[in-house]
């Protein structure tokens, strides 16, 4: 079948809901939380209007139960989906370990929202990055199209390596902002993402088994190692699935870090999610003004794209890491990770951490330009002014 996209003007949240529908999810268990709510509302609407078949929607009483119900559903063989945000994700935390430990390919959309207090409903990546060690894969979407594509690809990757995956989008900047999204006709989605074939299910009664039993010191260690092996395998699967997606639908995701005008760049801006849209725009402006700059958008934070980062770092003089998140007592989380990857390599560009846009603080092309000037001066001088720059701080 020839691919003719269906163009719809939708919010990031509706893009997520349509992707879940097109992925033919069988169980959605979810609890409302701003700004995630319109995802599950839209899914409920699909059911009410008879647009989906065989989809069970469980309106649970908390996010913790949402993940627990998805885990039960996934263990019973269903393709399970949920969505959450910030405090809800934090409440789920325990169950995120349970999902990866039981090797269940659940896909969840998390709408990045700053953690309280003080209360905030706006964009900030600390909620999802705080889940870094739970054994979940993490895909950061730049725009509504990537939310849609990310959900479809994540299911395929998750079901291949038997690990859960999180698709992350920005509060309001994506979740409630309408944009054109090219959707894929159902038959082609089905071709790309056939029904789930679980390794085991609770419905096999001929050979009874138990999941998640007590693991003694004699065995627990190996279970952990197998999760890491699956993460390593996921890197290749992600590249392969991303390439296949590109061949089928014209949008290539084979690179775990998307490089934008980096070929001859002196230095690059590195970051994740929607702020990289602004950065790319700024790169174009800066290029016209003679700056040799590029953008490196980290698409997958887990597994971390070590090889891609090394290749990039070898060829630039500096990397400005833009973190819309913070790990207290240390530095921005992406900065921390990126530096760690490069330590034992021969690639050591000057790296500086800019903390930007926490709690929804506006981040504009002008900000990127100021950061570019600062980076340029640092590279010329050959030394850092400060390593971690709270860029927006009111002084």
């Amino acid at each position: 079948m020839e691919y003719k996209p269906i163009r719809k003007v939708v919010s990031g949240n509706y893009a997520a809901a349509y992707a879940a529908k097109h992925a033919r999810v069988e169980v959605v268990a979810a609890y409302p939380i701003t700004p995630q709510t319109s995802i599950i509302e839209k899914i409920a609407e699909f059911i009410a209007n008879g647009e989906v078949e065989n989809l069970q929607y469980v309106a649970v009483e908390s996010e913790h139960s949402a993940m627990a119900a998805c885990i039960g559903a996934s263990a019973a063989g269903a393709r399970a989906f949920t969505a959450t945000s910030a405090q809800g994700l934090a409440l789920m935390h325990e169950m995120l370990h349970w999902a990866s430990g039981a090797r269940l390919p659940i896909v969840m959309v998390n709408v990045n929202r700053a953690m309280a207090p003080p209360w905030s409903v706006w964009d900030d990546q600390t909620d999802s990055l705080a889940q870094r060690d739970t054994g979940w894969m993490q895909f950061y979407a730049e725009n509504n199209q990537e939310v849609y594509d990310g959900v479809l690809m994540s299911f395929k990757v998750a079901e291949t390596v038997n690990l859960p995956a999180m698709v992350v989008e920005s509060a309001f900047i994506l979740s409630h902002t309408y944009d054109i999204v090219e959707m894929i006709p159902q038959e082609l989605v089905d071709e790309f993402l056939p029904p789930r074939k679980p390794l085991y299910t609770l419905t096999d009664f001929d050979k009874p088994f138990s999941v998640g039993a007590l693991g003694t010191p004699a065995d627990y260690y190996e279970f952990r190692y197998k999760i890491e092996k699956a993460m390593e395998e996921a890197r290749e699967v992600i590249r392969k699935v991303g390439k296949e997606f590109g061949e089928m639908f014209g949008r290539d995701y084979s690179q775990m870090i998307e490089l934008y005008r980096t070929d001859d760049a002196d230095f690059v801006f590195m970051g994740m999610g929607s702020l990289m849209g602004t950065v790319k725009q700024a790169v174009d402006v800066l290029r016209e003004e003679g700056y040799k700059v590029g953008a490196a958008k980290v698409r997958w934070f887990r597994p971390f794209p070590k090889d891609e980062l090394y290749e990039l770092a070898k060829n630039v003089k500096g990397i400005a890491v833009l973190d819309r998140n913070f790990s207290f007592g240390q530095e921005g989380i992406l900065f921390n990770e990126a530096k760690g990857v490069l330590y034992n390599t021969d690639a050591h560009p000057i790296m500086k951490n800019y903390i930007v846009g926490l709690g929804g603080r506006d981040f504009t092309v002008n900000d990127v330009k100021k950061i570019a000037d600062n980076m340029k001066a640092i590279i010329e001088k050959g030394e850092l002014d400060v390593e971690v720059d709270w860029y927006h701080l009111k002084r």
């Binding site: 065989n54 139960s65 119900a69 039960g72 019973a76 009874p208 039993a213």
Partner: protein, 311 residues
């Protein structure tokens, strides 16, 4: 061991065993007996969800399982939510759930995982109306972590975090009536049961199987380790709990109450008969025992009234 045909006919309890020998329960464990009866009633086409509790251990460490049925070990507070998800998946995939020939989804959780940390998920499960059975095995404390009080621990009972000392004892609250909280959800079927009355328990399990929607059974299951009682007295203790009306057996079915045991025509035995076999009540004075006795009789009168009015 093969059971002779003539013996089989005399048993109202199914002869088939789906709970293997070699499980790791303590001697005299009431919970393990309960699990055995559940498996006898439902057979191997059962999916269990078991949270952190004694039964996690009883079932055995990886790669062993004492259960001849599928089992999902889950987090402490999630039994109600996990069985909801399993049931939803089965329905999405077109399986028959509950009923005579359907798949039985069973939540099997202790009193801590039900009365305390799991109460929210239990409530969600009940009010959403999933076709599954939730069984709370009630041994009146957190036994797996070494005997700490739960909401279901009775007045006066010694536990490691509510000890009875030279001057005071710490457990001053009466047992939380989880079954009443469950019934407030107006589900089609809820019942209490006891390991001392297996035929009654299995009859109730079968009723729960046949009744569409969520069912709940609160199973009284003594714990000799936590109760400081002789390991050969568990059945006797469970029976005395019923005969003293400390733990009366009753059913709630579509708004109607029916008392099974003890008989409403006879006076219940004094609570002391139940208490004196256990070390956990040994420091209680006559006055303390009287406080517990009065509560038992008060609750018993309440239940009798309910059965009279809504029988």
């Amino acid at each position: 061991m093969e059971i002779p045909e003539n013996v089989k006919k005399r048993l109202s309890i199914p002869a088939e065993e789906h709970f293997y020998a070699g499980h790791t329960a303590c001697q005299g464990c009431g919970a393990s007996l309960g699990l055995r009866y559940v498996l006898k009633a439902y057979g191997k086409k059962t999916i269990f969800a078991i949270p952190a509790c004694c039964s996690t251990i009883i079932a055995g460490p990886w790669p062993y399982s004492a259960l001849d049925a599928n089992l999902f070990h889950t987090a402490f507070e999630t039994t109600g939510a996990v069985i909801s998800g399993i049931e939803a998946a089965l329905k999405a995939k077109g399986y028959k759930v509950k009923g005579e020939d359907g798949i039985m989804v069973v939540g099997w959780a202790g009193d801590g995982g039900t009365a305390d940390i799991g109460l929210q998920a239990l409530s969600g499960f009940l009010e959403r109306g999933h076709d599954a059975v939730y069984i709370m095995y009630d041994n009146e404390a957190y036994m797996n972590t070494g005997i700490q009080r739960s909401g279901s621990t009775p007045y006066g009972a010694w536990t490691t975090n509510t000890p009875g000392g030279k001057k005071h004892f710490l457990e001053k609250r009466h047992k939380k009536k989880v079954i009443d909280i469950v019934i407030a959800h107006e589900i089609p079927y809820a019942a209490t049961a006891s390991i001392a009355y297996p035929e009654d328990f299995i009859r109730k399990l079968k009723k729960a199987q046949k009744t569409p929607g969520p069912s709940f059974i609160q199973l009284f299951a003594p714990c000799p380790t936590g109760w400081r009682s002789p390991t050969d007295k568990s059945i006797e203790l469970a029976r005395l709990a019923v005969q003293t009306a400390y733990f009366p057996l009753f059913e709630y079915e579509n708004g109607r109450y029916k008392i099974n045991m003890p008989s409403t025509k006879k006076e219940p035995k004094p609570i002391e008969e139940f208490l004196k076999l256990q070390g956990r009540f040994k420091y209680m004075t006559k006055e303390d025992i009287e406080i517990l006795q009065q509560w038992v009789l008060h609750e018993w009168e309440k239940l009798k009234k309910l059965a009279e009015v809504f029988g």
